[in-house]
């Protein structure tokens, strides 16, 4: 069995650890791809050296994607990292020889041979790890939502630009076929001018089995799991995976599926530039348990010039057949998009839509049928070509996360917020603006 825990390794010194890591990297002959290309750019046929940070759930999807790219000679997986040794061991076993395991992502960032990292940690870690990776010159693929606060998102954009790296946010629909077919149909007015987009999604779960605090399970570094969050004792309802149901670490479905849907909707509506809006949210809070996400939730965003409304609904007005989706309501009818056009095909009307004379075509990377692979291929392309602007560049990911985060903020504050996208502040509401940033526990800071 690979990645066995052994007694002596518990007492390894930092010096020994670094030496062993360096020797292991040297033994498998890893060379950063930039060595083979022009300064600041990878060579056209260079193999990127990558590391996966966070290898539970979606993180393992990324590992398996990277294994396929590795088989195709496009990447070399140099490291895997997780704060839970049990998950880390499983990842090592899957990747096989040559990969170095780490608990602390900062060891990964110290390695000069690594070009790029894929981050799939709980949301409260995304911004800190992305900013630090950018600062060490790594390209980043980070799971959605990009951030948990507006100020984190701004810092991510700044770090990407200052360090000239490509940061792709994992809202894959913009490289998925179903969403692309819907996008070109909507943009070319299949239903006329769209004035409203409504989303439906099932409710957030309630913590039906609350438990008292307890020591963390063997192998989990609880302090590192919390990272930037305020310290508190471990509770078995935080993890694994349950982080999604706490507003501070997961933000509920509006920040999970919502991040997918809002990204796709902004794309279809050609509205990435519409950064100012009002937001008004209501919800039904849980009455027990650790989780605090609202069970039901309704959020209405109003955009101006052009005028349109975006509605998030849990459960909302379910028009399609699947668990979640959205509807574009236009002058001449409506068009449904189930899921976000990734794991489900587009509506047949969109699939068969013929571009009218003079119509507007929409670009999409189409190297792979699997949209998870395709989204990463798009990221590689941005790195390889040196333009550093993948399909869901961090600026777009930040704007999408801003919709999610301000939806939750409006719910928490119980009032309508008017958002100035230019200044990135709530108009006339100092208390709301205070919550656009969250102080982070040292040293897990931006």
């Amino acid at each position: 069995m690979a990645g066995l825990k052994t007694g002596p390794s518990r007492f390894v010194t930092r010096r020994t650890f670094l030496r062993n890591s360096a020797l292991a990297a040297a033994a498998i002959g890893l060379t950063p791809s930039g060595v083979l290309g022009a300064p600041g750019r990878t060579g056209a046929n260079a193999r990127l050296v990558v590391a996966n940070i966070g290898v539970g759930g979606m993180g393992m999807t990324h590992v398996f994607n990277m294994l396929r790219f590795q088989q195709e000679g496009k990447v070399q997986i140099a490291a895997v990292c997780d704060v839970d040794d049990n998950r880390l061991e499983a990842a090592v076993e899957n990747v096989g020889a040559g990969v170095i395991p780490y608990r602390d992502y900062r060891y990964v960032l110290e390695r000069k041979d690594i070009d790029a990292v894929l981050i799939a940690t709980p949301d409260h870690w995304h911004a800190v790890q992305t900013v630090h990776a950018c600062e060490t010159g790594k390209h980043v693929y980070v799971e959605k939502p990009a951030s948990v606060t507006v100020r984190e998102g701004q810092a991510m954009v700044t770090a990407a630009r200052a360090n000239r790296v490509a940061v792709q946010v994992g809202a894959q629909a913009r490289t998925a076929k179903g969403a692309w077919q819907t996008c070109r149909a909507i943009r070319n007015r299949i239903v006329g001018k769209v004035n409203r987009v409504s989303c439906w999604h099932y409710a957030n779960p309630v913590d039906e089995k609350p438990v008292s605090d307890s020591p963390p399970p063997d192998g989990l570094d609880w302090d590192m799991w919390l990272g930037p969050l305020p310290w508190r004792p471990h509770n078995g309802r935080y993890q694994p995976a349950n982080f999604r149901w706490l507003l501070e670490s997961g933000g509920g479905q509006i920040r999970d599926r919502g991040a997918h849907q809002f990204s796709t909707i902004l794309w279809c509506m050609n509205a990435d530039h519409q950064t100012s809006f009002t937001v008004e949210a209501s919800g039904r809070p849980p009455t027990r348990g650790l989780w605090d996400c609202p069970i039901d939730m309704n959020v209405v965003y109003r955009f101006r010039n052009p005028d349109w409304t975006l509605e998030w609904g849990q459960p909302g007005n379910k028009v399609g057949q699947t668990e979640f989706g959205n509807v574009f309501w236009g002058e001449h009818g409506h068009l449904i998009l189930e899921w976000e056009g990734g794991y489900r095909p587009a509506n047949p009307e969109a699939i068969h839509f013929q571009l009218p004379p003079g119509g507007q075509e929409v670009y999409r990377t189409d190297e792979y049928e699997d949209f998870n692979m395709n989204h990463k291929a798009d990221w590689f392309k941005a790195i390889r070509e040196g333009h550093l602007r993948p399909a869901v560049d961090i600026e777009i990911g930040h704007r999408t996360a801003t919709l999610c985060n301000l939806g939750n903020l409006s719910y928490l504050l119980g009032r309508r917020l008017a958002w100035d996208g230019e200044k990135q502040e709530v108009i006339g509401d100092p208390a709301a603006n205070r919550l656009l940033a969250r102080p982070q526990r040292y040293p897990y800071v931006l």
Binding site: K5, E89, V92, V99, P101, P285, P294, R416, P439, R441
Partner: protein, 238 residues
């Protein structure tokens, strides 16, 4: 009882109807309806402040979610007079009761933070100060984060005092980071001068974020420290 918000200058029930629109009263019912249904009977005539608050506490203590849930949602309307009883609940060992108190306090703080409610926010802040000197460390930690949302210069001395308490100092630092103005910056500077060496790095980071110059104590944010027990695979590369 709190002052009515703008546009709701009548009975407490009207206050609740206004305030609960976004607070998530279930399925369109207003907080006034919920209170009526659970027998609070605040009604149009305000009872002495203590009795409604005592009743709120009784309902929060109820193990019946049909009673404690609506009570938690309705707490926003009780304002400053309800703070001390809620702080007492926050420190209770029953974790579900403590959570309800925490959620009620957060709802109150966020409601009082709305534009134009400065007096309400001030009254709430003054009452919350008591929560920094009493209760458990866990409850005081929550109070510090409440102050991060509503605290003003008035709260800075009480928060600063906790910068020397090992278990609470990091939360106190974070709370001060969210309080605007020179007073909180001066408090961070004073704490930096007196802090033990291992805490100076965090305080230095806070001061730099506020545009202050600090000699030494470089950022440790990218310094790796945590090591895994998992070893590399000896098998084949895949």
């Amino acid at each position: 009882m709190t002052l009515p918000p703008t546009g709701c200058l009548h009975a407490p029930s009207a206050i609740l109807m206004c305030s609960d629109r976004h607070r998530g009263a279930s399925r369109g019912s207003t907080c006034a309806e919920l209170i009526s249904a659970t027998g609070t009977g605040l009604g149009a005539t305000l009872a002495p402040a203590s009795e409604p608050v005592n009743d709120l506490v009784r309902r929060l203590r109820s193990p019946d979610e049909q009673i404690n849930g609506p009570a938690c949602q309705a707490a926003v309307a009780y304002g400053a007079p309800a703070v001390r009883p809620l702080l007492a609940l926050l420190a209770e060992p029953d974790f579900e009761l403590s959570r309800r108190a925490k959620r009620a306090l957060y709802a109150m703080v966020r409601y009082a933070g709305r534009p134009g409610a400065n007096n309400e926010a001030r009254d709430l802040e003054i009452e919350l100060l008591g929560g920094l000197s009493t209760g458990t460390n866990a409850s005081r930690r929550h109070v510090l984060w409440l102050f991060s949302e509503i605290g003003s210069a008035r709260a800075v001395p009480s928060i600063s005092a906790l910068l020397s308490v090992a278990e609470l100092r990091e939360d106190a630092r974070c709370a001060l980071m969210r309080i605007p103005g020179r007073r909180s910056t001066r408090a961070l500077r004073a704490a930096f001068a007196a802090a033990p060496e291992d805490f100076k790095y965090a305080l230095a980071d806070s001061l730099r974020q506020r545009g202050e110059k600090v000699d030494g104590y470089p950022s440790q944010k990218r310094l790796p420290t945590r090591q895994t027990t998992v070893t590399p695979s000896l098998g084949k590369a895949k």
